[in-house]
């Protein structure tokens, strides 16, 4: 589904990603871990098409298409979804209206008719249950005055509404208490299928107790320095990142 080859990216002349290679197949869950400043969130943002980052080399193939050729909105319409680490507060736009616009633009892209009001509401209700989010919250301005947990649940709600092929969760566990974490993880798990894939970007292993990855990759200084299965995450939790750093430095 996703094939990243030697991806390099920088922001304001500063090189952050220094040759990422990653293969993600449909049905898989990949966790990207790593110490702070290793480039995890940059990778997530670059995949979603944030313009602040300049891709200086490499390629990203997504379902046979060159993702780097697309703007952020085209990527989303092709099925890429980024759950933001820091969801933006947008006064004056309700989540409901925002979702209606987004969903119908994606449907239009797929050659489908816009959803009528009744079907849209039905879908909303269904997905709201999934992340235990309240209707009143969705009528309010997008993320404005939401608690950390509400913001993250809203991200997963949006993901459920848009049914992406590739979901990238950027530090979705940050700022969540254990209940919120479980709700968010349940939502993500419920959305998992053989047709879609998930990339979980996280600093801590905690979230991976709930969203069990097939593969774990450790990012350090802009490169994937180690890959393994879910046991690698447990090892990191236990031993921290220092041994990875040492290993990487030794190889370099």
């Amino acid at each position: 589904m996703l094939s990243i080859k030697n991806l390099q990216a920088s922001v304001e002349e500063k090189e952050i990603l220094r040759g990422i290679n990653l293969e993600v197949k449909a049905g898989e869950v990949h966790a990207i871990m790593g110490p702070n400043g290793s480039g995890k969130s940059t990778l997530a943002s670059v995949l979603a098409g944030k313009e602040d980052y300049e891709v200086t080399g490499g390629e990203i193939d997504f379902l046979g298409k060159d993702l780097l050729e697309f703007d952020a909105d085209e990527r989303a319409r092709e099925g890429v979804f980024l759950a933001f680490q820091y969801p933006v507060e947008i006064p004056g736009v309700s989540t409901t209206n925002f979702m209606k616009t987004a969903l119908n633009q994606i449907r239009e892209h797929r050659g489908e008719k816009p959803l009528d009001a009744v079907s849209f509401l039905k879908r909303m209700k269904e997905k709201m249950k999934l992340v235990e989010i309240d209707q009143s919250l969705l009528s309010r301005s997008l993320n404005e005055g939401f608690s950390g947990g509400e913001k993250k649940r809203n991200e997963i709600f949006q993901m459920a509404m848009l049914e992406p092929k590739l979901a990238i969760l950027d530090e979705t566990d940050s700022g969540l208490d254990i209940d919120a974490l479980r709700i968010v993880a349940n939502g993500v798990n419920a959305l998992k299928s053989k047709e879609n894939a998930t990339i979980v970007v996280t600093h801590y292993q905690r979230l991976l107790d709930y969203i069990v990855p097939d593969y774990v990759h450790v990012l350090y200084k802009g490169r994937i320095v180690k890959s393994g299965t879910k046991e690698l995450a447990l090892e990191l939790e236990e031993k921290g990142y220092d041994w990875i750093k040492e290993e990487a430095e030794a190889q370099a």
Binding site: A48, G49, K50, E51, D52, D71, A72, D73, R75, A76, R77, F81, L82, F84, P87, V88, I90, P91, G92, V93, F98, M99, T101, A102, L103, Q105, I106, H109, S141, Q158, L162
Partner: protein, 441 residues
Amino acid sequence: MKEIAGNTIISSLSAQFEAFEKQLNGQSKSAVHQVRKAAMAQLQTAGLPAARDEEYKFTNLTKALAKNIDFDQATPAFNLTPEAIKEVQVTGLDAYKLVFLNGKYSEELSDTISVEGLTVLPFQAALKDKQDVVEQYFGKKADLESDPFIAMNTAFSMNGVFIEVADKVVVDKPIVLYFVGDSSAAKLSYQIRNLVVAGKFAEATVIEKFDTIGDNESFTNVVNEFSVDHNANVRYFKIENDSDQAYHVSNTHASQEGSSTFTANTIALNGAMVRNNLNIRLDGEGCESHMNGLYVLKGKTHVDNHTVVDHVKPNSYSNELYKGIMDDKSRGVFNGKIFVRQDAQKTNAFQSNKNVLLSDNATINTKPQLEIWADDVKCSHGCTTGQLDQDALFYLQARGILKDKARAILLKAFASDVLENIDNKAIKDYLEAIITERLEA
């Protein structure tokens, strides 16, 4: 004679004034005409705003008018079709309608209004039929020495509307005034004078809409005087979406008695150069004033909003929110003055002006001015100017929304709190449709 600004314009107007006086016959001795004469004299002495005039610093109307408007020329004929006149009206608006063509009242196109306790007359007719009321209020709120365009307007006061709402009368529908101009054959210039007198506990909504059709330059100069008596509630809308060649000045002066409410919604969407002066005097205790303003500009449109809120007595509240979106080479000017007089203790006065600049060539000049002599008051003001929030734009795009659409959503959201304050659905829908179309273009 001292050199004054706008000399050529004033000599044209002086000649016109002589001709105007000759047509008046018996009326030239009237009290109203004495005010007109004083206004003409004031204009001849003080002139139009000079380039260095502080109040018109960013808006050199004198120069623009001298260059673009022919003040010697008589008002051209009005040749627009009924369809064209209909086109500029607000769809779905349930209101009492008055139509003015090149400034002249059209009886044929206007509604006959018969509501108990409500008098609506063309200004000219009110000079005869409501002479006493006109003489009591005319020129009393809009001080002709305070602004040269008030003097200019006052000198030629003849066209416009007179509205009187008797005590305790609640007018069931808004009164909408459509000012339609035809500048397709020649340059156009006309002046409008409106007088609104609301009695105690009276309620009314007055909507003004200005549209000029045609490729030639036009100039409209409007003065509104609102007298709002005790416990009255008056809402005023001004919708300005004129042609690219339209020069427009308006002076709206409202004076409030105790426990009254006055709301002004000033919307400017297009024109060459627009200047709106809004002055509200809270002359009683327990008054409420709301000023909402929105300007969404593109091309070379220049819109200048000058507002003055004058708290004279204690325990009143005023709230002002002006928002602007400027694209291309457009320019916005906001100047908001709040006066709190020594007697006006326990005043609450708030002001906010927020702007978004969409292009490197767009400009905003914003200036809050607070003069507070009372010591027990709550006053705040703030202004912000920025660009579109790039993080918010990315967020919307990351959900599949096209960049242009995402941009439009954010700008509409920015404007929404001004639009939310508009309690008339037809007007709100109408404005939303124009703004949405504009922002998505």
